[in-house]
Every structure is written in C-alpha cells, then in structure tokens.
C-alpha cells in the first residue's frame, strides 16, 4: 500500500467509531420514536409518523448535505435577519454521527414498534396482576423480550448503517473512504486503494454477521423451537 496502510487502518477505526456511536444514537431515537408512535396522544403519533415517513423517503446523501451544509447557513440567515453576524461550522465527526443516527433512528423506530407489538399483551397483564408496577413490568417482562424480536431488525439496520458511514467522507470526515481517496490520489493506484477499502468493509460485514448470529442465539436462549 506504499506506506498508506496505516492511514487506511486509522480510517477504518474512525469508520467503526462513527458506526457504533450513530447506531447507539439511532437506537435511543428509535426507542423514543416507537414510544411516540404507540403513545395515546395523536400529536405525538403524528410527529413520529412524519419523522419516519420523511426521513425514509429522502436519500441519506441529501439528508446529510442538508444537515451539514444547509442547517449552518439557515442558522446564519436567521441570525443575520436579527442583525447578528455569526459563523456556524459543524464538526464533521459530530455532524456525521448526528445525521446518520437521525436517519437510522427512523428505521429503528419501526423495528422497536414491531418488537413491542410482538410481545403478547397477556404477559403484561399477567405481570400487572402479579403486583408488578408498570415500570417493573416493562423492565422485567417487556424489554427482555423486545430485544429478542428487535434483534434481527436492528441487525439489518446496523448492516445498512455501517455502509452508509462511507457517505460521511463527502462531508470531509477522515474515515476509511476518505483515507482510500487520499492514498488513491497520491499513488495514482485508485483501483488498489478502493479494493483495499472494500475488503476492509467486507471484514466489518463478515464480523457483524458472526456477532449478530451469536447475539441472536443468546437472545433466543430458553426459547423452544417448534418442529
């Protein structure tokens, strides 16, 4: 790799970091989103509905450009209208994590909603009848089972999210894709560098698949399969 190997490894680490952090953010947003979608308040349901509909209907790249380039200019314009002259620049790492988390929060909202609905109602009623408080029933009965139903869906979200992190190279974050670009331009061997980047992504995919399989086995322990 003509001395650019360490750069690729550095980029790989950033990619993994962006991926893990935005996945965590997406799961938090997803929990709140699912809660809003299932809430009794029509306003909450409407807001969550608009969020998931719009975010999933717009390409990630456009959302990312909108957040990274659009929001600062919007803030500057608004501040300008009030007579302030400020410059807003987002840190590309935080902007990347926030945008990817925001986008995939919409996908995990649907996953969590489905998982919540998959837990039989009778179990919650039974827990309540046993004298558990609402929060205790959620913690002991609902959440452990939701994981089991949510895991395959979350796994899919993670796979797509991880590949979407390549897009943050567009907003100038020094991750794997960007490192490959640097190497490709310096050495004039674009094919080798992008192939190396592709292989690193494949390593990540393969590792995620193995890990997800382990997690699913773990989450399904104690479940007897029919047939």
């Amino acid at each position: 790799m003509q001395g650019y190997g360490p750069l690729l490894i550095e980029g790989f680490k950033v990619t993994v970091m962006v991926g893990v952090l935005s996945m965590a953010l997406a799961m938090v947003i997803g929990m709140f989103g699912a809660w809003a979608k299932l809430s009794a308040s029509p306003a909450m349901r409407w807001a969550a509905g608009v969020y998931t509909t719009v975010v999933r209907g717009v390409p990630e790249l456009v959302t990312m450009l909108l957040v990274y380039y659009g929001v600062p200019t919007l803030i500057q314009d608004i501040a300008g209208a009030f007579g302030y002259d400020i410059r807003v620049d987002f840190n590309s790492f935080l902007a990347g994590v926030a945008t990817i988390g925001f986008i995939y929060g919409a996908f995990s909202t649907e996953v969590f909603r489905g998982a919540y609905l998959a837990v039989p109602r009778g179990q919650i009623e039974a827990a309540r009848a046993c004298g558990m408080s609402r929060t205790l029933a959620v913690r002991r009965i609902l959440l452990p089972q939701m994981w089991r139903f949510a895991l395959p869906g979350l796994g899919n979200v993670w796979m797509v999210l991880m590949k979407a992190t390549a897009l943050v190279s567009v907003i100038e974050l020094e991750e794997l894709m960007r490192a490959a670009e640097t190497g490709a331009q310096a050495t004039r061997l674009p094919f080798n560098f992008y192939l190396a980047a592709a292989c690193l992504y494949l390593v990540l995919t393969a590792a995620s698949m193995a890990l997800l399989h382990r997690l699913e086995v773990w989450a399904n322990r104690g479940i007897q399969h029919g047939t």
Binding site: T52, G57, L61, V62, L65, G70, P72, T73, A166, E181
Partner: protein
C-alpha cells in the same frame, strides 16, 4: 423562495436524469438478478461459490466504494481497456454510474428472488412435475411467477432503495437531482433551500414509485383477496424497506 422557482426547470432536468438512471439500472439489474438467483441455488459448488462471492461483495460493501472502484479504479487500466475498446465506455460517468447501480441492485435482487423461489410450496412443484412439466417450462410457468409474487414487497423496497441510491452518482460528477441542487446551492449559498427542495422532489418520486408498485401488487394478488367490496390499494409509510 423565488430562487427555488427560478431553478425549478434545472432541478426537473436533474430529476429526469435520476429517473433515467433508476429505470435503466432496475431493468438491467432485474435481467441479471434472475440468472444470478438460479445460479445461487445451483447444487454445483463450482457454480454456487462464485455467485455467492459476487453477491457477498456487492451487498457487503458500500455503494460509494463500488462506484469509486469502477469509475476511478478503471483509470488504472487505461491501456488494457483501450486495447479491448472499452475505455470510451468507462470514461463516461453515466456508464459507470449505471453499471455500478446495476451490479449492486442485481446482487440484492438476486437474494430477494432466491428467497421467493425457496418460498414456492413444494406441492406446487410436485403437481407441475406430475403434469409432465420440467426444466425451463417448470420454471417459466410455475416457479418464477410464484416466486415473483412472493418477492414483490421486498422487491418494491429494493427499487425504492435504488432510487435513493442514485443520488450518489452526483459524487462522480453526474448532474442528477442531487448534483443540480448542489451546484445551484454552491453558487447561491442557498444550501438549505436547495437541498430541502431536492428532498421534497425525492419524496414525491419515492411515494410515486410506491404507489405504482402497490397497484401492481394488488393486481398480481387478485386470486388471494377475499371477496369483498374493494377499496383499492393503500400506500403506507411502513412499507418502505
């Protein structure tokens, strides 16, 4: 606001390119996906392994990497490509964009169709065999139509995913909807307005595609509907991906 209206014709010409690329890649991708799915289901290890490797590569790496690998990566093999007369094609961003998207969607679609084929009930195949069908006839009349019907909802998602993924070709200099919005935004500094307008146009496209595909789904599942006063298909947000 007047900037948005002023630049609407250019945005719409970008939208046209987006639609072109999407349609081309969907059609070519589907043509490629069916044989791939069949090869993937082959019992011959020598056939199955390379097919699986192809699918794993295109599903396991980001589309952006694939795009750069083909568009910029081909620049490393100019003499070789010139010798076989392919360089004029690989020089064009349009060709590389469509090629990458086609290969990418073919890999995803092949897995979807494979799922459909595996979901065809054994009894139907046995019945067809008992009627004397086999080989290509069995696949053409029984297995593939059924598999397509089973795979249709997942395929709808894939097409919508592809439509959104075409926005990446703007990075390799093509003037699709995202590319046009970006160019206008850079000149006018109206980043927020331009990308918001582009997002709105994408939303319209996505829900347009969803509407058409739901209609088709409704048509091809006619025999499965309960007999009752029909209300037509409904398009729901939850159907994306």
């Amino acid at each position: 606001m007047e900037l948005i209206i002023e630049s609407l014709p250019r945005l719409l010409s970008g939208t046209w390119l987006t639609i072109q690329i999407t349609v081309l890649s969907v059609l070519f991708g589907l043509c490629l996906a069916v044989p791939l799915a069949l090869l993937r289901l082959s019992r011959n290890w020598l056939v199955q392994a390379p097919t699986y490797a192809f699918i794993f590569f295109f599903r396991g790496t980001p589309l952006l990497v694939q795009l750069f690998l083909i568009y910029y990566g081909s620049g490393q093999f100019v003499p070789e490509l010139q010798r076989v007369g392919l360089w004029t094609l690989f020089r064009e961003a349009y060709f590389c964009g469509v090629l990458t998207l086609t290969l990418n969607t073919a890999a995803y679609t092949a897995e979807i169709i494979r799922g459909g084929i595996m979901g065809v009930p054994k009894g139907e195949i046995e019945a067809a065999r008992a009627c004397g069908m086999r080989g290509a006839l069995l696949y053409r009349r029984i297995v593939l139509p059924k598999a397509f019907r089973l795979a249709w909802p997942a395929y709808t998602n894939e097409v919508i995913f592809l439509l959104q993924a075409t926005s990446l070709v703007s990075i390799i200099t093509l003037m699709d909807l995202t590319g046009v919005a970006g160019t206008i935004a850079e000149r006018s500094f109206a980043f927020f307005e331009m990308y918001l307008t582009a997002a709105a146009i994408y939303l319209v496209l996505v829900y347009g595609v969803l509407f058409v595909f739901k209609r088709i789904e409704y048509r091809i599942s006619g025999h499965l509907r309960e007999v009752k006063p029909s209300r037509g298909p409904s398009v729901e947000a939850a159907d994306i991906r």
